[in-house]
Every structure is written in structure tokens, then in C-alpha cells.
């Protein structure tokens, strides 16, 4: 894939394709478009949906809210970095979404009829790869945001120490490495090091997900 021009040009599937084929520029464009739509949905969702129980302490929701509220164009610069935690989160969530839709299909004993928001018709429906579009696809849905929050909960919880959790959340909130370093009174290198640790761990989770499929 070298050009990005169709109406469904912002799908996670296409983004993953572009990443796999090493087409970084295309991947970045798709990601930015996808993410800016996701931002719109998420902002609306987080504003209008009643918060979960004990929501005052719900760190993930809080982080998401401050991020999606405050997100500005300039945030996309570091979000475009393929190492960014948001990208890993969206990938992992998408995997889960695929799994879930497969699961639903099996529940219906081969019914193959999946709820689609985008209503993409045609033979594509037959492949699991495309089903992702129904949940995480070209038009991001509130369902996907919910999944993302749940996934994020698990990922954060899974980190072995408080410092790492804190840094991951601040990064999700959109703070830069140097801002986080200043806030935690450590050297920026320390933040970079810990983010690498988080990333490599989550990537391993992702690899495992992919291997399980």
C-alpha cells in the first residue's frame, strides 16, 4: 500500500498493513486520521457516558479524559511515533476486538453476521481481518473506546511497580518525557528507560496475542 485515498482510509487494518509493509509514511497518515476521529468519539463518549463506579479514583478514565479533552494538533506529533503507547494500546485493543467478533460468530454457530457500524458490505466480511473495522475500523465507535479503556486498565494493572504505572498514565495523558521527568524529579533518560521497559513488555503481550490467533 503506497497511497492512502479511499474513504475507508483510516482503518486499523490498513494501518497495520502499512506498518507491516514498512510503509512508515502511509502508516503515519492513516494513524493520524484514525486517531483524530477516535479523539472525537472518545471525547463525546467520555463526556456523555456516566462514569464507572468509584470513578473519582479511576486513573485510566481520568487519564483518558484529560488527554481527549486537552488533545491538540501538536500532540499528534509524538503520537505519530510508532513507539507511542497509544499505538500499542490501539493495536492490542484491535486484536481483542477481532477475537471478540470471532467469538460472537462462533456463538451464532457460523452465522457470520456481525454488527457493523460502518456497514461495509461485500466479501470482505468473510475475513477476520476486516471484522476489525466493525469495531475499530474506519469510523471508530464508542464500543471501541470502552474496549480501549478496559484494555488499558489491564495493561496498567499488569505493570510491576507504581512508578511504571504512574509514568504510563502520564504518557497516556499526553505529557512529554521531559514534562514527566520534571514532575517526578528524575532525569529524562530515566523516563525514556522506563517507557522502553513498558513498551517492550506490552509488545511482548501483543506478540503473544498474535501468536495465539
Amino acid at each position: 500500500m503506497t497511497t492512502v485515498d479511499s474513504s475507508s482510509d483510516s482503518s486499523v487494518t490498513q494501518w497495520l498493513h502499512a506498518l507491516r509493509s514498512g510503509n512508515d509514511d502511509a502508516a503515519r497518515q492513516i494513524w493520524e486520521r484514525y486517531f483524530s476521529r477516535l479523539t472525537g468519539i472518545a471525547r463525546k463518549y467520555l463526556l456523555t457516558t456516566p462514569r464507572r463506579m468509584a470513578d473519582e479514583e479511576d486513573v485510566v478514565i481520568n487519564a483518558f479524559q484529560s488527554f481527549f479533552h486537552g488533545v491538540k494538533e501538536d500532540h499528534f506529533h509524538h503520537l505519530a511515533d510508532r513507539q507511542d503507547l497509544w499505538q500499542i494500546l490501539v493495536m492490542l485493543t484491535s486484536r481483542k476486538a477481532i477475537k471478540q467478533s470471532l467469538h460472537e460468530r462462533r456463538q451464532k454457530r457460523g452465522g457470520g453476521h456481525v454488527r457493523t457500524e460502518s456497514g461495509i458490505p461485500g466479501p470482505n466480511k468473510q475475513t477476520p481481518e476486516l471484522n476489525i473495522n466493525s469495531v475499530a475500523g474506519a469510523v471508530p465507535t464508542p464500543e471501541f473506546v470502552v474496549m480501549m479503556i478496559q484494555q488499558c486498565d489491564v495493561l496498567i494493572e499488569h505493570l510491576p511497580d507504581e512508578r511504571l504505572r504512574e509514568i504510563a498514565l502520564l504518557r497516556f495523558e499526553g505529557f512529554s518525557n521531559s514534562e514527566i521527568a520534571e514532575r517526578l524529579s528524575v532525569h529524562e533518560r530515566t523516563i525514556e528507560r522506563k517507557l522502553n521497559l513498558i513498551r517492550s513488555h506490552w509488545r511482548r503481550l501483543l506478540d503473544k496475542e498474535l501468536a495465539d490467533e
Binding site: 471478540q100 489491564v154 505493570l159 524529579s185 533518560r189 530515566t190 528507560r193 521497559l197 513488555h201
Partner: protein, 612 residues
């Protein structure tokens, strides 16, 4: 929540990576409290495959947190100790911002290049080879050119290369002149100026190969250290002396600033002769302003096409001395709004200087150096040096934030601190929970292992050992350079200082003789700090003044206001050389204070020179 999101089998985080991260955290927290630890110890805790990564992370952290003397560890000592990690070491250094600042001080540099020779300059930042020198890393681009860290191809030594902007390939007259200048610079050998090794050309651009001097810049050094007026005079004299030979041959440095002076082993080293060369080039091309404005002489700013003489360096040296004595650059002193404007209106009046400098002899000398007319100034370094030598410099500490300098040691007696008052002693177990007491108070404190570990750790060659619960630091540093002994003690305070008055009393014991050599030259400087980083002097005394003298109380409330702990230390300073014939002991002792009421909680700091 759906179980779908839970990993079926929890995938544990890689233990060895976590361990690496924790070791780095541990090291960073040590560094943040101004301590250090041996790399070997930390490296031994991790599996072999991760040792290089851990080494790299530790080194980066080490470089990020300078020690109290402003240094970050010497590249040469790392290279010697860890030859297998040479790439990591050089990489870390060449990418380290501070390091590049110390090497290429172009903070205020203005070099408005207008001639067309600079238009099509090759972007040098990724060059791998300059002449015969393989490049290790690009350090900095400045108005005058690019600076690199490189390596001598056969000797392996690390060198600094400065590539100038001006191309000279089609101008044999200029080339000849440059080569002549290069010869003069290469022949100038003095411990207080950087050694120039070579002059060569890259793509028609001249470059200078210079000794790699390691150390903080004078300006960053003075952010954390204090010096005496005598030291200020001595440093400016040393640089003047180093310039004598060059001035005699009409080579002018043209850019003497606190950012172009590095402190190596407590001695100033003037670096960066880039402009010295450029000076001659500019005459041919009239390229305009080049230099560092607050230290530029009026003739450099106002008439850049006029010949530059050694008197131009005299102006900068005067500015440097003013900065050392007052912490202010020339334009600050006269409240000039605009650096360049300054030179149009500047008349350095006696009044303005008198306000900043009580010592009249300095004033006369500075008025001469900073005169706007070149003919009224000392004509060169020789004349300036003679005038500096005529000043009998007092050894008062210049009042600014401080730490250490150079010093030997010697005829030092004992100094005792007693944080005191009388009325209501505070029980140590109640620390941190008490409201501030009214008035003065007595502070009770104990030596602990932690406090013992606080001092002298960062001194290379310092041996730290504990004897009978006393902290004893001993170091053997035979050296011909001046050195300084320093001991630090940290005292927790049970409340926020600020509403209470905190005073310190000192006691001086009879001096110890060390031959006869130090009898007249040693001083003890007493300093306090609220964080162990920024120190202020509250008293200084010379040991020959009075034997067995009590001093104080000195109010240190303003120094430590707002904190909850106070750091105290004594620095031992001498203006003469330490001959290196014996060890210096510095120790903390818990000991009765001989004449006041309750003796047991007093603290005595003693410093002893012995040997022979």
C-alpha cells in the same frame, strides 16, 4: 469486565530488564543526594548480557548529575578503566549537552558572516574524517564554526577540533598567514591555555586541533563554588601570563569569557583559539562582529574593521576579573539594556565600580582595563600582569554561591561547630513534628552511618573508613597544584527553618605546624547550605590570626531558610602548593566542647594535616 482482556497466562515482565531499571533508579537516587557508587558493584549484580546496557545507562546518569565540584568524571579515567566500552563512553560524552557547552562556549557569540564564502558550506555535522583525524562526534555548531571530538589516528588520544567557517582555499596569502598563526599557537605552551596540536584544512576550511580539556566552564563552576579574591587575582594573572608570548607575537585571543575558560584540577585553562585565527581573516574580509558581547572591547563592537591589538584582550581580562570579583559582567554593572548599545554609551565610572567593589586597588586596575580607549589601557598581558602582581590580594571569600576550589592544606588546627542556644533542647525523636520554637535553640544531633557517608565520597583517591563510630576520611593527594580539603556534615532540623534563628559557633584550636610552609597561608572557610548543593560562606579565618580562638555566633538562618536540614562544612584552603609529602586527614568527631554547659551533644569538626 470481560475476561477477554485478561491475558490467559500472565506474562511476567522480564526480570533482568526490571533489575536493570531498579539498579539505575538506585544509582540515580544516590547521585541526586550528591553521592556516588562504584559502577563495578552495580554491574556485578546483573547478568552478563545486560552489562553493557547497564553500563551505558549508568554513565548517562553519571554525566547528568555533576558532582559538587561541577565535574562529571573524566572521560580519560572511564576510558582507562573500561576500555571495552570505548564506543559507549565516547558516544555518551559527545552527545552530552553540557560537555559540548564546556567545549564550545558560544553563548553570546555573535558572528554575522556576510561574505559569500560561507554560503555553500558543507554541512559538517555528519563528517567522519577531518584531515587525518577520525571524528568521534559532533559537539557543537556555533557562529564561528563547528566543533568536534576526534581521535589522533596513531596515538589514539582524544582531541578537540574546531573547523572555522571561512574558506581560504583560493587565497594563498591568507593560507600562509593562517599557517604562521597556527605555528605561533602550537608553540605556545602553558598550563593555563589549551595546547594547539595542529592546523589543517578540510574542504578549504581551516581547522585547529587542540588538546581535549576536561572540566566545567568557569561560569558553571562559579554557580556552585566560591573563590577568594586572591584566587580571582591568581587566575586572571595565570591567564595573563599564558598570553604574554602570544601578545608579543601580536596574536590576540579576542574571545576571553567565563565560558571559554575551563577549570581543570582547580586551575583555569583558556580554550578556543578559533577567533584568534579568524581575527586575521576578518581583516581581509571585514565580516563583522565576532566575539562575546559583554566581554568584547568597544573597538571590537564599534570598529570591527580597525586593527585588533593585545589591548583588546586586556579589556576582556578586566571584564573577567570584574566577573570573578562581583559575579557581574560589565554590562550588568552599568545596567545597560542592550549589549551592543552598551559600548556606545559606556563610560565605566568610578562610582559604579565603587559600589560593586570596595577595594580601591581593584577599582583602579579595572578602570584601566575597561577604558573605552585602547591607549588608556594596559597595552598587553605583560603590563596587566605587572599591575596584578602589585595588588596584595586579600583572601576574603567572594560572597556568592559556593563549593570548592583548589587548595593544599597545612597549618590547620581544629574547628568546632556548635549549633546552639540554650533554652529548650529538642529531642531528636520528635524531629519533623514540632512547631518552630521561638528564638534561638540548641540542636541535638547524632552521627550516623548515613551522615558519615556524606562526605568526601566523590574525591578520587579518597579512602573512606570508619573508626570507632567516627567518620574518618583520609586522602593522599600529593600534587604540585593547590588543593582543598573539605568535610561536610548534615544536620536534620525538626521544623522548617525560617521563623527561628539558627546560629553556629566555631572554635579554633592552635594551628598545627607542617614544617613552616603553610603557617601563613592556610584558611578555614565555614559554609552552610540548605541542600548540600549551594553553599554560602558565613565565616572564614586564617589560622595564624589567633590561636585557640572562639568565633561566632554566626547567624545562618538566611542561608538555610525554608529547609528542614542544614549542611555544614569546613573548607581548608591555602594559596601555596601542597608538597605531597603526607596524608591529609579530615574527620568528624563527637567530642565535648570544652567550655560550655552541656558538652555531650556538641560536634567538632577537625582537620589535621600530618605527615613528614
Amino acid at each position: 469486565m470481560s475476561d477477554l482482556f485478561r491475558p490467559a497466562t500472565p506474562l511476567p515482565m522480564d526480570d533482568s530488564e526490571l533489575l536493570l531499571d531498579h539498579l539505575c533508579d538506585k544509582y540515580e537516587s544516590l547521585l541526586k543526594s550528591d553521592r556516588d557508587a562504584s559502577f563495578e558493584e552495580l554491574l556485578s549484580e546483573i547478568e552478563k548480557a545486560l552489562v553493557p546496557s547497564l553500563f551505558q545507562e549508568l554513565l548517562i546518569l553519571r554525566l547528568a548529575y555533576p558532582t559538587s565540584d561541577g565535574t562529571r568524571g573524566l572521560i580519560s579515567s572511564y576510558l582507562r578503566r573500561y576500555p571495552e566500552y570505548e564506543d559507549i563512553i565516547l558516544n555518551a560524552y559527545s552527545h552530552y549537552n553540557e560537555a559540548s557547552q564546556t567545549l564550545t562556549p558560544t553563548l553570546f557569540s555573535v558572528a554575522s558572516q556576510t561574505d559569500d564564502t560561507v554560503d555553500d558550506l558543507e554541512d559538517l555535522q555528519h563528517v567522519y574524517q577531518l584531515g587525518k583525524y577520525p571524528v568521534i562526534g559532533h559537539l557543537k555548531s556555533g557562529g564561528q564554526g563547528d566543533v568536534f571530538l576526534a581521535r589522533h589516528p596513531t596515538l589514539g588520544k582524544v582531541v578537540v577540533i574546531k573547523v572555522l567557517k571561512n574558506r581560504v582555499e583560493h587565497d594563498s596569502t591568507r593560507q600562509d598567514r593562517l599557517i604562521r598563526e597556527g605555528q605561533i599557537l602550537a608553540n605556545a605552551q602553558h598550563p593555563n591555555i589549551v595546547q594547539v596540536h595542529d592546523l589543517d584544512f578540510h574542504d578549504g576550511r581551516p581547522f585547529l586541533v587542540m588538546e581535549f580539556v576536561e572540566g566545567p566552564t568557569l561560569s558553571s563552576y562559579l554557580r556552585t563554588q566560591s573563590i577568594t579574591e586572591a584566587t580571582a587575582i591568581r587566575w586572571v594573572s595565570a591567564i595573563s601570563e599564558a598570553l604574554i608570548g602570544l601578545h608579543e607575537q601580536h596574536v590576540v585571543h579576542r574571545d576571553i569569557t567565563p565560558n571559554n575558560i575551563l577549570i581543570r584540577d582547580g586551575e583555569p585553562v583558556l580554550i578556543d583559539f578559533g577567533l584568534a585565527l579568524d581575527a586575521k581573516l576578518d581583516h581581509a574580509t571585514a565580516t563583522g562582529l565576532a566575539g562575546t558581547v559583554p566581554y568584547m572591547a568597544p573597538e571590537q563592537v564599534l570598529a570591527p574593521d580597525r586593527p585588533i591589538t593585545p589591548a583588546t584582550d586586556v579589556f576582556a581580562l578586566g571584564g573577567l576579573l570584574l566577573y570573578l570579583l562581583t559575579g557581574k559582567s560589565v554590562h550588568r554593572l552599568i545596567n545597560a539594556e542592550n549589549d551592543v548599545e552598551l559600548h556606545h554609551v559606556a563610560r565605566f565610572s568610578d562610582n559604579q565600580l565603587a559600589e560593586a567593589l570596595p577595594n580601591n586597588e581593584f577599582r583602579n586596575l579595572l578602570l584601566n582595563c575597561l577604558s573605552s580607549s585602547t591607549t588608556e589601557r594596559f597595552q598587553d598581558a605583560t603590563q596587566l600582569l605587572a599591575a596584578l602582581n602589585a595588588i596584595k590580594a586579600p583572601t576574603n571569600i567572594i560572597n556568592r554561591r559556593s563549593v570548592l576550589t583548589a587548595a593544599g592544606l597545612g597549618a590547620l588546627g581544629f574547628t568546632a561547630f556548635q549549633l546552639f542556644d540554650a533554652e529548650e533542647p529538642v529531642a531528636p525523636e520528635d524531629l519533623h513534628y514540632l512547631p518552630p520554637p521561638e528564638g534561638d535553640f540548641t540542636l541535638v544531633f547524632r552521627l550516623t552511618d548515613e551522615t558519615q557517608a556524606q562526605y568526601l565520597q566523590s574525591w578520587e583517591n579518597a579512602l573512606l573508613k570508619t573508626e570507632e563510630g567516627l567518620g574518618v576520611a583520609k586522602y593522599w593527594m600529593p600534587s604540585t597544584a593547590n588543593q582543598e580539603g573539605i568535610v561536610t556534615y548534615r544536620v536534620p532540623i525538626p521544623f522548617e527553618i525560617g521563623s527561628a534563628r539558627l546560629t553556629v559557633r566555631t572554635h579554633t584550636y592552635p594551628k598545627l605546624k607542617f614544617g613552616d610552609r603553610f603557617a601563613d597561608s592556610a584558611s578555614v572557610i565555614l559554609e552552610a547550605s540548605s541542600d548540600g548543593l549551594f553553599w554560602q560562606t558565613f565565616h572564614e579565618h586564617r589560622h595564624t590570626d589567633e590561636a585557640n580562638a572562639q568565633n561566632g555566633p554566626y547567624d545562618i538562618s538566611h542561608i538555610v531558610a525554608g529547609g528542614t536540614e542544614v549542611y555544614l562544612r569546613a573548607r581548608l584552603l591555602t594559596d601555596t602548593n601542597w608538597p605531597g609529602v603526607g596524608p591529609i586527614f579530615a574527620q568528624f568527631m563527637r567530642t565535648p566542647f570544652s567550655e560550655e554547659g552541656d558538652q555531650t551533644n556538641c560536634f567538632r569538626l577537625s582537620v589535621t594535616a600530618c605527615g613528614e
